[in-house]
C-alpha cells in the first residue's frame, strides 16, 4: 500500500484536496457531507415509501390479481439481478476500503466491477421490459396482450378474471422504473468517481465522494432487495 501511495505522489499529478472555506478542516467537511448524504437517503426512502404503501394497500385489496400478475415475472432473472447487485455492493464497499489504504489500482478495479454489475443489471432489466412490452403486457391502460404464445393466452385468460390486472404491471413498471432510474444515476456517479480516481483526486485523506456515492449505491441495492420478493416471489 505504501508503494501505491508513493507512486501516486511521485508522478507529480497527485492533487491535494482543499476543503471548502466554510469548514474548519477536511474532517469537518467529510462529516458534513456524510450527514447530508444520510439525510438524502431518508428522502429517497420516503419517496419509494409512497409506492410501497400503494403496493401494500392494493395487494391487500386484490391478492389474487397480484398473484396472477407475478406469474409473468421470471424469478430467475430477478434472482440473477439480486446477486449481481449484492455483489456490486461488495465491490463498492471494497473500493472505499482500498482508497482508505491509498491503493488506487484496487479502488479502480472495484469501481469498474461495480459499474459492470450495474450494466448487467440494466441489460437484464432491458430484456425483461422489452419482452413484456412486446407482448403488450404494459402498465395500466397499456395492458393489451396481443400475438401468440402461452404467455399471451394466459394474460388474456387472467384479463377475464381480473379486469384490472394492468394495475399490477403499473406497480411493476413504476417501482422497477424508479429503481432503474436510480441505477442509471448511480452509474453516472460511478463513472464520475472513476474519472476522479484516474486524476488522483482521492487519497486516504480525502475520499468523501466515494463514500457518499457508496452510501447511495447501497440504498439502491437495498431497495431492490425489497422489490425482488414483493414483485417476483409474491406468487
Amino acid at each position: 500500500m505504501s508503494t501505491a501511495n508513493t507512486s501516486a505522489s511521485s508522478d507529480g499529478k497527485s492533487h491535494v484536496h482543499h476543503h471548502a472555506h466554510h469548514f474548519d478542516s477536511a474532517e469537518h467537511e467529510y462529516n458534513a457531507a456524510k450527514f447530508g448524504t444520510w439525510t438524502f437517503l431518508v428522502t429517497e426512502i420516503l419517496m419509494f415509501g409512497g409506492l410501497f404503501v400503494g403496493y401494500i394497500l392494493y395487494h391487500e385489496r386484490f391478492p389474487e390479481m397480484f398473484k396472477a400478475g407475478a406469474t409473468f415475472l421470471d424469478w430467475k432473472m430477478g434472482a440473477l439481478n439480486t446477486i449481481v447487485l449484492l455483489f456490486s455492493s461488495l465491490t463498492m464497499a471494497l473500493s472505499i476500503y482500498y482508497m482508505q489504504h491509498d491503493n488506487k489500482k484496487m479502488t479502480l478495479i472495484n469501481l469498474y466491477v461495480t459499474l459492470a454489475c450495474a450494466c448487467i443489471f440494466m441489460v437484464v432489466k432491458y430484456f425483461e421490459y422489452t419482452h413484456k412490452l412486446h407482448l403488450g403486457i404494459g402498465p395500466g391502460n397499456y395492458f393489451q396482450p396481443h400475438g401468440h404464445g402461452e404467455e399471451v393466452q394466459r394474460a388474456l385468460g387472467f384479463l377475464k378474471d381480473y379486469p384490472n390486472i394492468g394495475m399490477y404491471f403499473s406497480f411493476y413498471f413504476c417501482m422497477t422504473g424508479l429503481h432503474g432510474s436510480h441505477v442509471l444515476i448511480g452509474m453516472g456517479l460511478i463513472i464520475w468517481l472513476i474519472r476522479r480516481t484516474h486524476r488522483n483526486e482521492f487519497s486516504s485523506k480525502y475520499y468523501t465522494a466515494i463514500e457518499c456515492v457508496g452510501l447511495f449505491w447501497h440504498l439502491v441495492d437495498l431497495i431492490w432487495i425489497y422489490l425482488f420478493p414483493l414483485l417476483y416471489l409474491v406468487g
Binding site: 450527514f35 447530508g36 385489496r61 395500466g140 391502460n141
Partner: protein, 530 residues
C-alpha cells in the same frame, strides 16, 4: 478573495460584480437575495390573480371573466402562492440569508446545492407556466383525482412544475439540517441557538420527510395521465381517496413548513422590540419540534367528508386539536415576553403583533374546523378559505413583511422609511380583516368555496371582501415602494440599529463575503437583555 475579506468597504454585494457573478454565486446571502427577488415577482403574480378573483366575485353573475377563466385564476393563485411564495418565502429567502449568520457560520453546509435549489425553483416555475400555453390548469392547487386526470392537458405541466419545485424545498431543508448540526460557531450549543434557527430546523425536518411523498404522488399523477396506471383511477380498481391521503400526508405538514418559520421570525421580533429576554425560550424551541412531530398525524382532517372511517375521523380530530397546545405555548410566551418589556412600536414589531392577533384567530378557527361534526357543515365553504388565509396571509405574510423590515438594515445596510412602513402595515392589516372576516360569515351562511358564482344574498359581504382585497393590494404596493426606497436611499444603518442580541447583528451591515471578520465565539444565550 482572502485578502479582500478584511477591506471594510467590501461586502457581499460588491466584492464581485456583474449579473454572472450573481447567477453563479455560492454565497448564501446572495442566494437569499435571489430568492427575495423571485419570491416577490411570484407574489406579485399570485396577488394579481387574487385581485382578479375578488373582482370577479364583486357582483353576482359574470363580472370580468367566465367560469373557465375563473377556475384557472383560482388554480394559479393557489399554486403560485403555496409552491412559489409561502413555502420558499421564509426559509429559502430570510432563512438562507440570516440563519447561517445567526449560528456564526460562514455559509450553509452545501453552497452548490443551495444554488441548485434556487435553479430548481426557477425551472419548476418555468415548467408550471408552460401549462398556460396548453389551456392552463383548473383543478385548484390540490390536483384532486379523478378530475385532474380527466381535465385539460395544461394540468400535467403544473403538476410537473410542482414536482420540480419540491426538489428545491427538499434540498434547502437538507442543507439547513446539516448546517445547523455541523456549522455552529464555537460555544453555540443547541440551547443557545436563536429561536428562528430552531424554527427553521423544525421546518427543515418537515421539508425532508414530507416533500418526497409529494414527489412520488405527483409523479404517479403524471403517470396516471400518460399511462393510465390506475392507482388513483376507479376504472382500474384504483382509489381516488388514496390520492387525497398521499397529497395531504405532504400538504398538511407543508402548512407547518409555511407557518413554523414565521413563528421563528416573530420570536426574534418580539424579543428585540421588547428589549427583554424571551420568556420560555426552551418551551418555544421545543414547541417548534412538537408542532413538526404532530403535523405528520393530522392529514385526515382534510378528509372528514371523503369517506374515511368514522373512527379515523375521530382520531384525526383529536390529534389535530393537539396542535393547538404547542401553538398556544408559543403565543403565551410571546405575550409574556412583551409583559413589562420596553416595547418599541417600530414597523417590524407592528407586523409581529399583527401576526399574533391574526394568527390567533386563524388558529382558533382551525380548532373549530377540527371538530368533525362542525366540519361537516363548514367543509369546502368560505369558512375554510377565511381560516387558512388568516393563518397563511395573516400569519406567514405578516411575518415575512416584519422580517424584511427588521433585517433590511442587515441585508442592505439601510433602514426603511418608518412612516411609510407603518402606513403599509395599517393598509395590509385593515384590508386583510375587511377581506377575510366577512368570509367567515359567508362560510357559516353556507357559501361554498371555489365556486364561480354565488346567490344574491351573499353579494353585500362579497363586495366588502373585494374592497378589502384591493386595500391589501394597495398596502403591498406601498410596501414594495418602501423596500425599493430603502435599498436605494434609505438611511444608513449601523451594524445593530435595533440593539438586538443575536449573532448576525455583530457583523457589519451589509456583511462581508464570509459574514464575520473574526470567527465569533459564543458565550451567552441569544436574548440576554435583562
Amino acid at each position: 478573495m482572502a485578502s479582500g475579506a478584511h477591506d471594510p468597504n467590501l461586502n457581499y454585494l460588491n466584492w464581485e460584480k456583474g449579473l454572472w457573478s450573481w447567477l453563479t454565486t455560492l454565497d448564501h446571502k446572495r442566494i437569499g437575495i435571489m430568492y427575495m427577488i423571485s419570491v416577490m415577482c411570484f407574489f406579485a403574480l399570485g396577488g394579481t390573480f387574487a385581485m382578479l378573483i375578488r373582482w370577479e366575485l364583486f357582483s353576482v353573475g359574470k363580472t370580468i371573466m367566465d367560469a373557465k377563466q375563473y377556475n384557472q385564476a383560482m388554480t394559479f393563485h393557489g399554486a403560485i402562492m403555496v409552491f412559489m411564495v409561502i413555502i420558499p418565502g421564509i426559509p429559502a429567502f430570510l432563512g438562507n440569508f440570516i440563519m447561517p449568520m445567526q449560528i456564526g457560520a460562514k455559509d450553509v453546509a452545501f453552497p452548490r446545492l443551495n444554488l441548485a435549489s434556487w435553479y430548481c425553483l426557477m425551472a419548476g416555475a418555468a415548467v408550471a407556466f408552460i401549462s398556460l400555453i396548453y389551456n392552463g390548469a383548473d383543478t385548484g392547487w390540490t390536483f384532486y383525482t379523478p378530475y385532474s386526470i380527466t381535465t385539460q392537458n395544461g394540468t400535467i405541466w403544473l403538476v410537473t412544475g410542482a414536482f420540480i419545485i419540491g426538489f428545491s424545498s427538499i434540498l434547502t431543508g437538507l442543507n439547513f439540517i446539516v448546517t445547523v448540526h455541523k456549522l455552529r460557531a464555537p460555544g453555540m450549543s443547541f440551547w443557545r441557538m436563536p429561536l428562528f434557527v430552531w424554527a427553521l430546523y423544525s421546518t427543515a425536518i418537515l421539508q425532508v420527510l414530507a416533500t418526497p411523498v409529494l414527489a412520488i404522488t405527483l409523479a404517479l399523477l403524471v403517470a396516471e395521465r400518460l399511462l393510465g396506471v390506475g392507482i388513483f383511477d376507479p376504472k382500474l380498481g384504483g382509489d381516488p381517496v388514496l390520492f387525497q391521503h398521499f397529497f395531504w400526508f405532504y400538504s398538511h405538514p407543508a402548512v407547518y413548513i409555511m407557518i413554523l418559520p414565521a413563528m421563528g421570525v416573530v420570536s426574534e421580533l418580539i424579543a428585540t422590540f421588547s428589549q427583554k429576554t424571551i420568556f420560555g425560550y426552551k418551551a418555544i424551541a421545543l414547541s417548534s419540534i412538537g408542532i413538526a412531530a404532530v403535523s405528520f398525524f393530522v392529514w385526515g382532517h382534510h378528509m372528514f367528508v371523503s369517506g374515511q372511517s368514522e373512527f379515523a375521523g375521530i382520531l384525526f380530530s383529536f390529534i389535530t386539536m393537539l396542535v393547538g397546545v404547542p401553538t398556544a405555548i408559543k403565543t403565551f410566551n410571546w405575550v409574556a415576553t412583551m409583559y413589562k418589556g420596553s416595547i418599541r412600536f417600530d414597523s417590524p414589531m407592528l407586523y409581529a403583533m399583527g401576526f399574533i392577533f391574526l394568527f390567533t384567530i386563524g388558529g382558533v378557527t382551525g380548532i373549530m374546523l377540527a371538530v368533525v361534526g362542525v366540519d361537516v357543515h363548514f367543509h369546502d365553504t368560505y369558512f375554510v378559505v377565511a381560516h387558512f388565509h388568516y393563518v397563511m396571509v395573516g400569519g406567514t405574510l405578516m411575518a415575512i413583511m416584519g422580517g424584511i423590515y427588521y433585517w433590511m438594515p442587515k441585508m442592505f445596510g439601510r433602514m426603511v422609511n418608518e412612516t411609510w412602513a407603518r402606513i403599509s402595515f395599517v393598509l395590509v392589516f385593515v384590508g386583510f380583516n375587511v377581506t377575510f372576516f366577512p368570509q367567515f360569515i359567508l362560510g357559516a351562511m353556507g357559501m361554498p368555496r371555489r365556486y364561480y358564482d354565488y346567490l344574491p344574498e351573499y353579494e353585500s359581504l362579497n363586495r366588502i371582501s373585494s374592497m378589502g382585497a384591493w386595500t391589501i393590494g394597495v398596502g403591498f404596493l406601498v410596501a414594495l415602494g418602501v423596500i425599493l426606497h430603502a435599498i436605494k436611499r434609505g438611511k444608513i444603518a449601523g451594524p445593530n440599529p435595533w440593539n438586538a442580541k443575536t449573532l448576525e447583528w455583530t457583523a457589519p451591515s451589509p456583511p462581508p463575503h464570509e459574514n464575520f471578520h473574526v470567527q465569533p465565539v459564543v458565550t451567552a444565550g441569544p436574548y440576554e437583555y435583562r
